[in-house]
């Protein structure tokens, strides 16, 4: 059957070449969108590593000094007072200081040295309460606690991605990491948390490190740029006003800016998905156009072959077989277009700029887009096929 259909398609190769080309281009576009969507979906389905619901963060801008200037001891004391005041506020479940909060636009990537190897990893200096606010999930070891301030080394907690990069399968607990610039720094891993993806669901999973921030050490304290707050369940957004007033009462000349993390997440997702969504809408219109066009071409095709089809009917072919022939012909033509596209598309993970796209995304994207195109093409054959079955043999044989 397929061989016979191929022959029929081949007999009208001039017209069909263009249809094959059109299918080929549509396939490439649908594949590109499907691959991008699946790529994002795969990232989206990875665990985030923190709980963003009912969390606010507060940007803190001190009044003096540059970013690099050490904190004055009284500034560190003010920061500590801000934290205590937040914790005792009605409706606040937990509060902590950190370098950067989830979905914040900026990231703080620092150079680290481990066993003589330099690497970059994003870092957040945190106070012990951080685990109660964003709830990163501890895998092994322990979280940073208040007693760490008394140590003569800095306690750090790494996420699984960084642990794997540091020691592979070995036990990361107790390993010593130093600062690239200040080689004598002594940071030791005390715990491992699940992959912490601060940037958000659609960002790449990059290595992450939490370091214990000591408010008495100016170099640590200056990295505390943000306060994070977990609200008790059911706390209304009205809390923002008293919260800001509390902060302003303690540090009247500092600036504070409250961001609701859930809102920041929505903005982030919208900004990330907008280009894909608009391309998707355009592609949807293009496919609609292809379906209409192909239906028109097939219909015309059937009209032109009235005699041929009439002859088949006269020779005893059943209506269902005529319908199947027409749908089959479109399917075979579309199949040729797909056959052109497949070898190209399956090479995507090997081609220069796209090597970051894994086969795990390309293979399902290929299957989904090929099936969609095939299905749409067959849909285009349905109506012309039906109208072909309406042809009466007696009239068709006289058709000129």
């Amino acid at each position: 059957m397929t061989r016979h259909l191929l022959k029929l398609v081949w007999n009208r190769k001039r017209t069909n070449t263009l249809i094959v080309l059109e299918i080929f281009c549509s396939f490439l576009v649908v594949f590109g969108l499907a691959a991008a969507a699946l790529h994002f979906l795969a990232r989206y389905r990875q665990p985030l590593g923190f709980d963003y619901s009912s969390v606010w963060y507060v940007d803190v801008a001190r009044n003096t000094g540059s970013d690099w200037g050490d904190w004055e001891p009284e500034e560190a004391a003010t920061f500590a007072r801000l934290l205590t005041a937040l914790e005792s506020l009605d409706g606040v479940e937990a509060a902590a200081g950190c370098t950067s909060a989830p979905y914040m636009g900026a990231s703080f990537i620092h150079g680290w040295s481990f066993r003589g190897q330099d690497m970059g990893a994003e870092v957040s200096y945190v106070t012990p309460g951080f685990i109660d606010v964003l709830r990163p999930e501890l895998v092994s070891g322990r979280w940073i606690d208040a007693a760490d301030s008394a140590l003569d080394w800095t306690a750090i907690v790494v996420d699984e991605a960084l642990a794997a990069e540091l020691v592979g399968d070995e036990d990361p607990l107790g390993q010593r990491v130093t600062d690239v610039k200040e080689g004598e720094d002594d940071l030791r891993v005390v715990g491992v948390v699940r992959d912490y993806r601060r940037g958000g669901e659609l960002d790449e999973n990059t290595p992450y490190l939490f370091a214990s921030a000591r408010l008495d050490r100016p170099a640590d304290a200056q990295a505390l740029r943000t306060l994070v707050v977990r609200l008790a369940p059911g706390t209304p957004a009205d809390l923002e006003q008293p919260l800001l007033e509390t902060l302003a009462a303690i540090a009247p000349d500092w600036s504070f800016n409250v961001v609701h993390v859930e809102q920041a997440r929505e903005d982030y997702l919208r900004a990330q998905l907008l280009p894909l969504a608009s391309l998707g809408v355009i592609a949807g219109f293009l496919l609609l156009m292809v379906v209409l066009g192909l239906t028109g071409v097939m219909w015309q095709n059937v009209t032109r072959r009235t005699r041929e089809i009439g002859l088949r009917r006269a020779a005893g072919a059943h209506r269902a077989r005529i319908q199947r022939q027409i749908v089959g012909e479109v399917a075979v033509t579309a199949g040729l277009g797909l056959a052109l596209g497949l070898p190209l598309v399956l090479q995507v993970p090997l081609i220069g700029p796209f090597t970051f796209v894994p086969f795990a995304v390309v293979v399902p994207a290929t299957i989904v887009s090929a099936l969609l195109i095939l299905l749409l093409a067959m849909l285009c054959g349905l109506y012309p096929g039906w109208s072909a079955t309406r042809i009466r043999p007696a009239e068709a044989l006289h058709y000129e």
């Binding site: 017209t15 801008a61 009044n63 690099w68 500092w254 156009m289 066009g293 071409v297 000129e400």
Partner: protein
């Protein structure tokens, strides 16, 4: 990005840290006298930045920042370049063009296919006109004019549709702070582009038509 619910003078901020700090929330915006001034603004910014003193040279090697156009920023973000690297506007433009061409090939091929079947449908009409002495060029001209008329009516439909789409996008809040308006200039460019497409995609079918043999065509058959 330059949108906000409220614009407030910088002097109302309680903290004056932004006067000293290199890291922070602020972005500077420069209004150039003309586009021709962009390169000199960029080079002046770069030379001033190079002269800026690093607060802690022991810890930090370099301070990187760029004066970029909005398009340059878009290109840099899209291609994941770091500050300090030249904005890859050329590559970005190529990438956008490639996507646009990939998208536009489909309607173009679709149009060719449709035009072809329209011609074949009218095989006998063409045969009659040829038999009565119409030259190939007359027929090609007629066909192209038909194509243009169809495109223009499609354009009118497109005008209505884009008007509705703009209303929907504005109402949906999909793009924050978007107040999209109908731009005649963009619409005219779109119309011109589709006219171009109509003529180009009409060319091949018209050529096929001009080669139809009158006797064959009269029988409704293609050679």
């Amino acid at each position: 990005m330059t949108f906000a619910d409220i614009w407030a003078p910088i002097s109302t901020a309680k903290s004056t840290a932004h006067e000293e700090q290199l890291l922070g929330e602020f972005q500077g915006i420069v209004l150039a006298r003309s586009r021709a001034d962009f390169p000199s603004i960029k080079s002046e910014f770069a030379s001033r930045l190079a002269a800026a003193e690093l607060p802690d040279p022991e810890r930090y090697d370099a301070l990187l920042s760029d004066a970029l156009t909005r398009y340059g920023e878009l290109a840099r973000d899209a291609l994941g370049r770091e500050a300090g690297e030249p904005a890859p506007t050329g590559r970005f433009t190529l990438l956008v063009l490639a996507v646009v061409i990939a998208f536009m090939t489909i309607p173009a091929l679709n149009l060719v296919n449709l035009s072809l079947s329209r011609i074949l449908e009218r095989c006998s009409e063409i045969g009659v006109r040829k038999a009565f002495g119409a030259s190939s060029w007359t027929l090609v001209g007629q066909f192209l004019v038909e194509n243009v008329v169809l495109t223009l009516s499609g354009g009118a439909l497109g005008l209505v549709l884009s008007w509705i789409t703009i209303g929907v996008v504005n109402a949906s809040g999909l793009v924050p702070y978007a107040e999209l308006e109908m731009s005649l200039r963009v619409f005219a460019a779109g119309l011109l582009l589709s006219l171009l497409f109509a003529v180009i995609s009409g060319a091949y079918p018209a050529w096929r038509m001009s080669r139809l043999h009158p006797v064959e065509a009269l029988h409704g058959r293609e050679r």
